[in-house]
Amino acid sequence: MSTLSTVSTVLAAKWRVKLRFNLVVGGTLFALAVFVGLFADWLAHTDPVMDANLLNAEEPPSWKWWFGTDAQGRDIYSRVVHGARISLTVGIVSQFINSIIGISLGLTAGYFGGWWDDFVNGLTNLMLAIPSLIFALAIMAVLGPGLTSLLIALGLTNWSFTCRIARASALSLKTQGYVQAAKVLGYGDLRIMTTQLLPNMLGPIIVIGTLGMGGAVLAEASLSFLGLGIRPPYPSWGSMLSEARDQITTAPWLSVFPGLAIFLTVLGLNLLGDGLRDILDPQSRSTRV
C-alpha cells in the first residue's frame, strides 16, 4: 500500500514537471510574440515599409542590422517585429471567429439533436472534406487580398474541429445529472446551454482554440506566401518569405528570420495548447484541490 502510494506520488510529481515545461515554454513564446506585436513601434525604430535605402541593400546580419537588410535595404528586424502584429491579429481574431461559429453550431446541434443536428453534422463533414486552405484561397479570390478578407476567409474555414468537440461534449453532458436537474428546476434551454453545458466543455475548446491559433498563423503565412494575403510592401511573415525565396542562396537571412518567427510562434502556441490540455483535463483538475 505504502509503496504503491509512493510510486503514484513520484509519478504525479513527474507529470507536474512535464506539464510545467509545456506551459512555461509555450506561454513564454506566445507572450513574447504578443509583446513584440504590441510594442513593435517601440522595439524597432526604423519604419518597416518607408525606410528603404538601396545603398544598404542585402546587408548580412551585423551589429547595425541585427537581422540584415532586404533587396530594398529595409531592416529585416523591423519588418519581422512589425510582422508579428499582423500574424497575431490574424491568428487571434480568425480563431475567435472560428470558435464562436463552432461553439454555437456544435452546442445547439448536440443539445437539440434532430434535423438541426443532421444539418450541422453534414455541414461539418462538408467543411472537413474540403481542404481548408483551398477553401480560404477561394474566399480570398472572391474578396480580394487584404487583412479584412484574410480574417473573414480564415475565420470561416476552420471551425469544424471546434464544432465537433462542442457537439460531442454537449451530447455527453446533456445526460449528466446536473443538466437533467436544471431541467427539473425549470431552467430554459438557453440558460441550460450557457450555465450548464458551455462552462463544462470550455477546457477542450480552449485547447483546440490555442492549437487552431497556431494553424491560423501558418495559414496566414501560406496565403501571403501565395500572394493572396497581405500584399507587399506591408510586412507579414508569409509575404516576406515569398519575396525572399529568389535570394535564398545568396541572402539566406531574408528567409531565415521570418521563418524562425513563424516557427517559434506556432511552436509556442502548440506547446501552450498541450500544456492547457494537461491542466484542464478533469483528472488533473481533481488532484489540484
Binding site: 449528466q176 445529472g177 446536473y178 437533467q180 436537474a181 436544471a182 431541467k183 427539473v184 428546476l185 425549470g186 431552467y187 430554459g188 440558460r191 450555465t195 450548464q196 462552462p199 463544462n200 470550455l202 481533481s286 484541490v289
Partner: protein, 326 residues
C-alpha cells in the same frame, strides 16, 4: 382532505417504444396527494416508480411517453400546459431532488450561485439579492458557515453536504410539491437519518407536500403518511403507512415487509432466516397474463393466472389489487 387535491394522477399509462412496438411500462396508475401531505411510492428497481415521477414534471424522454390518463396539478391538466407554462411550474411549484447529489450539481459553478439562480429564475430577484437569499437558504439546511460555503464548488463538499445543497435548491422557491427520488440511497446511514429529518422538518414548516420514491419500505413508511406499493408498472396496494406494516394485504407487500430485517427479531423468534420474495421482476415486454405477480406469488390460484385483478377498496381504508386479499 381539501376539495381539490394538489396533484391527482388518474389512470396514467406510460409507454415504452421498443422498435416500433408500444409496450406499457406503467399502466392504470392513480393516486392523489393533498397539500402538505407526504406520500410514498415504493417498489423494486424497474417497477416504474421513477418514470411516474418524471411524468409528473413532464420530463419523460424518448423512448418513453405518456400513453394515456391525466395528471392534474391543482385541478389543471399539466399535459395541456404550454412548454413555458410547464417550465414555470418546475422548480417553482414542483421541485425534485435526486439520488446522486454528486452528479446533480454543476461541477464548475459555486453552490451559492446554483442556489441563487433559482431566485433569479423564478422570483425575478437581482443577483445581489439572490446571493443574500442563497446564504439564508444554506443556513436553513444547516450547513455550517453558510457565508463561506456559498463560494465552494460541489467537489469541495461531502455527500451529505451536497444533498443539503440540493434540498436548499429544491426548496428555494417554496414549492408546493417536493419529489424526492431515492434521496438518501447514496449516503451513509447516519447521514441518511439527518437528511430525512431535515427534509421532513423543512417541508412541514413550509407546508410542502412530499412525494417520496424509494425501494426502502421501512424508510418510506417512517416518513410518509400514505404509501403506495408498485409492482411491474401497477400500484398493487395503497394504504396508510401504519396499516401497511401491521396488516399488509397484497402478497407482494407481505413479502416486502417480511424481507425487512428488524432489530431484536432474531432474539424473539430464534435464529430465523430473513424471508425473501422468490424470482425476479418480469421484463416490461413480458408481463405475465392475469395478475402480474402470479409467477412469484405463494398464494396464486387459477384465477390469478387468467384474470388481472381490479383495484378494490379495503374495509379498513386503502386500495389493493389482489383476488385473494380477503
Amino acid at each position: 382532505m381539501s376539495a381539490v387535491p394538489l396533484i391527482e394522477v388518474e389512470n396514467l399509462r406510460i409507454d415504452l417504444d421498443a422498435q416500433g412496438k408500444r409496450v406499457p411500462a406503467v399502466e392504470g396508475v392513480s393516486f392523489r396527494i393533498d397539500r402538505g401531505e407526504t406520500f410514498g411510492l415504493v417498489g423494486e428497481s424497474g417497477c416504474g416508480k421513477s418514470i411516474t415521477a418524471l411524468a409528473l414534471i413532464g420530463l419523460l424522454r424518448r423512448p418513453l411517453s405518456i400513453g394515456g390518463g391525466t395528471i392534474k396539478f391543482e385541478g389543471q391538466d399539466i399535459r395541456k400546459l404550454s412548454t413555458s407554462g410547464r417550465r414555470s411550474l418546475r422548480g417553482n411549484r414542483i421541485a425534485m431532488i435526486f439520488q446522486e447529489p454528486m452528479t446533480a450539481l454543476n461541477p464548475v459553478s459555486p453552490v451559492g450561485r446554483q442556489i441563487a439562480e433559482m431566485f433569479v429564475l423564478h422570483k425575478g430577484k437581482s443577483w445581489r439579492e439572490a446571493k443574500q437569499l442563497a446564504v439564508e437558504a444554506l443556513a436553513q439546511v444547516r450547513v455550517p458557515a453558510p457565508a463561506r460555503r456559498v463560494k465552494d464548488y460541489p467537489h469541495q463538499l461531502s455527500g451529505g453536504m451536497r444533498q443539503r445543497v440540493m434540498i436548499a435548491i429544491a426548496l428555494a422557491c417554496g414549492p408546493d410539491l417536493l419529489i424526492a427520488d431515492e434521496p438518501t440511497t447514496a449516503l451513509d446511514v447516519t447521514v441518511q437519518a439527518e437528511i430525512i429529518e431535515l427534509m421532513r422538518e423543512l417541508c412541514a414548516e413550509k407546508g410542502t407536500a412530499v412525494l417520496m420514491i424509494s425501494h426502502d419500505l421501512g424508510l418510506v413508511a417512517n416518513v410518509c403518511r400514505r404509501v403506495a406499493v408498485m409492482y411491474a408498472g401497477r400500484i398493487v396496494e395503497e394504504r396508510n403507512s401504519d396499516d401497511i406494516f401491521r396488516t399488509p394485504s397484497h402478497p407482494y407487500t407481505r413479502g416486502l415487509v417480511r424481507s425487512l430485517p428488524r432489530l431484536g427479531s432474531r432474539a424473539a423468534h430464534g435464529q430465523t432466516r430473513l424471508q425473501e420474495i422468490k424470482g425476479v421482476v418480469p421484463a416490461i415486454a413480458h408481463f405475465p397474463v392475469g395478475c402480474r405477480f402470479n409467477p412469484r406469488c405463494p398464494e396464486a390460484t387459477d384465477i390469478c393466472r387468467q384474470v388481472e385483478p381490479a383495484e378494490e377498496l379495503l374495509a379498513a381504508g386503502g386500495l389493493v389489487r389482489c383476488h385473494h386479499h380477503g
